[in-house]
Amino acid sequence: MLQMIRIALRNISRQKKRSILLGSAIAFGFLVITLVNGFTGGLLKTTKENLSHLFGGHIYISGSIVSPLGSELPMIQDSFAAEEAIKAISDRVASVQYRSKTTGTLYFGNKEQTQKLEGVDFAAEQSFRTNIDISKGSLADIDKPGSLILPEATAKKLGVEIGETLLYRASTVTGQQNIGEFTLIATTTSSSVMVMDTGYTSKAYLNTLIGLDEGDYQSINIFLKDVAEVQTVADRLYSNLASNAPVSPRISADSTSSPRNMSAMRSSLMGMNQIVQVAKEEQWKGTKFSVTTIEDLMSPILSLLSIIQAVAFLVFIILLVIIMVGIMNSYRMVMIERTEEIGTMRALGVQKSGIRTIFFTEALSEAVLGTASGFVLALLIGGILSLINFGSGSFLSLFLARGHFVLQFSIPEALKNMLIICVMSIMAVYLPARSAANLEPAQALRATY
């Protein structure tokens, strides 16, 4: 057995051109699939990050109460149940933020622009200062009432400079229009072209504008240590919440939730308040919670990425089938070229299985060498691509991290594809290996006579 493997390994360098050709074909196939997976994986990660900046977290707990007049008000009033539920998942949590938010219109001179604002408790949320990416201005005056941080793109559109005053019109939770005065102290680097980037002001100041008490908040945003487990952690959080308080049904990407529910959820997250009257028999006591995750919101992007991945995988398989045909033909040739040698080995006492081992080992080592070099190439190309700066203004920027592509290579995925290549190589070489093993020794030895 070992002897057969030794011979097989030496045979690889016997027909260098053919081995290199087959190996390169395998390497190319593996390179393509690895790069595509790296890209989609990276896209997923960066879009997730970009969106979580936009929405300010990975998991969002929002609440609503029924007002004495019977309308639904978006706010969290008694947070005991939420606190308990968060405690239960605390080992997974990186940070928790209590925020209020609204979407309204900014006015400056004769220009206006729709903008989402989040109210942040700057004193409590120290990490805000370190996490935010300031492009102009400073956070020195952040504690002054009416201080405003806007996305760079918004400031540019309005033509407003640091230190200038603007007006903001928003509706209160009960539906009245209200206007407040803000001073721009800083701008943030825009992470996306959708100009859906959030602006920030102090929570107390925003609360008075939208008709809440200074200490109130509308949503609890949770950043996790690992975004990958967002759905499982959110499910745990939801079931904990449900055991202590009224909850809205969970709307998730894979459930059959109606598009209207999804859009209602999105606009609630954007702070676009709509006044809804709650029917008597449907009213609840205290705060009714709902739980949403970044993945719920990303479902259209997720399905796009999974389509890209599926197409790439299909191309990969088609490529592999073509390579398989190549392998099969090559080893047919090998069998014909080595007929006498095979006859000799059989005469000397090598069993049929020994001949098969030679063929399988040769094909398998080529597959392994091919995938290994394909993987190294993918890493190289990926590394070079991620060095290129595509800038932040292009349509790509939702998928970029500060102008760069991020490639996320997955080792299990690579191993799986390598396994597929190995299995397919073995399948391709099976028939030639069997015919070679079944050669009649006497006939094989006569082959050169």
């Binding site: 040698e341 090598v350 006497a442």
Partner: protein, 232 residues
């Protein structure tokens, strides 16, 4: 007891719709440790008979018995094992394995299955054979770096490495010039005397035939002469 026994052996090859009779009913016995020549003109059936004795081909009719075992009673695995343990092969065109060097080619049969020779003994035995066939300095060379005569010496050492009872050689000198051919036959004869291995070789060279203890002459797929020449 005879180490090889053929009884009413016939072999036909299919050729289109008809069959070609290559061996038409052959009986003979070979005694252990003899040096036997299978002589006859081209097409007389030498290779066919050697292949059947070597268990790489099966007779259409009749019995081939190797060391008391009827070959028709064995399946492919058992036949392969019998070849490995009991028979050594020397081929006309040497048939060394190109990717292995001289030492590895000689070692090869020992590594493909159990031979009952201990590891320690194996190394000594290979060294002994390499010296016997005079290739001490060529151990690390690959076959394509050797002359025909040298290659056939490697093949002789390889055929003997498992300590087989029988060595079969189909026209071992046909690809060599007559002087080299003679030294090869003399080397085979030397090993036959030293080790007591039965050697059966085919040839159509009368000079070589005369070196045998036992001559079996074939003609048209039948034995035409079967005799023991007077000692040379």
């Amino acid at each position: 007891m005879a180490i090889i026994r053929l009884e009413k052996v016939k072999k036909t090859y299919p050729l289109g719709k008809t069959v070609v009779p290559a061996v038409k009913g052959v009986d003979f016995e070979i005694q252990k440790s003899d040096f036997i020549s299978l002589a006859g003109p081209s097409g007389s059936g030498k290779t066919t008979i050697l292949n059947m004795i070597g268990c790489i081909d099966t007779p259409t009719e009749g019995v081939v018995e190797i060391d008391g075992v009827k070959t028709s009673d064995l399946n492919d695995k058992e036949i392969t094992r019998l070849r490995h343990r009991t028979i050594g092969f020397i081929f006309q065109s040497f048939n060394l394995i190109p990717v292995l060097n001289v030492y590895e080619n000689i070692e090869f049969p020992l590594l493909i299955g159990d031979t009952g020779i201990s590891q320690k003994e194996q190394k000594k035995w290979i060294q002994f054979l390499i010296e016997e066939v005079g290739l001490g300095q060529w151990q690390k060379h690959r076959p394509n770096e050797l002359s025909g005569g040298q290659r056939q010496r490697v093949a002789i050492a390889r055929a003997l490495v498992t300590k087989p009872k029988i060595v079969l050689a189909d026209e071992p000198t046909a690809n060599l010039d007559s002087a080299t051919g003679e030294t090869i036959i003399n080397l085979m004869k030397k090993m036959n005397k030293e080790l007591g291995t039965t050697f059966l070789f085919s040839t159509h060279d009368q000079k070589i035939v005369d070196l045998a203890d036992h001559v079996i002459r074939l003609k048209d797929g039948l034995v035409s002469e079967n005799y023991r020449p007077k000692a040379v």
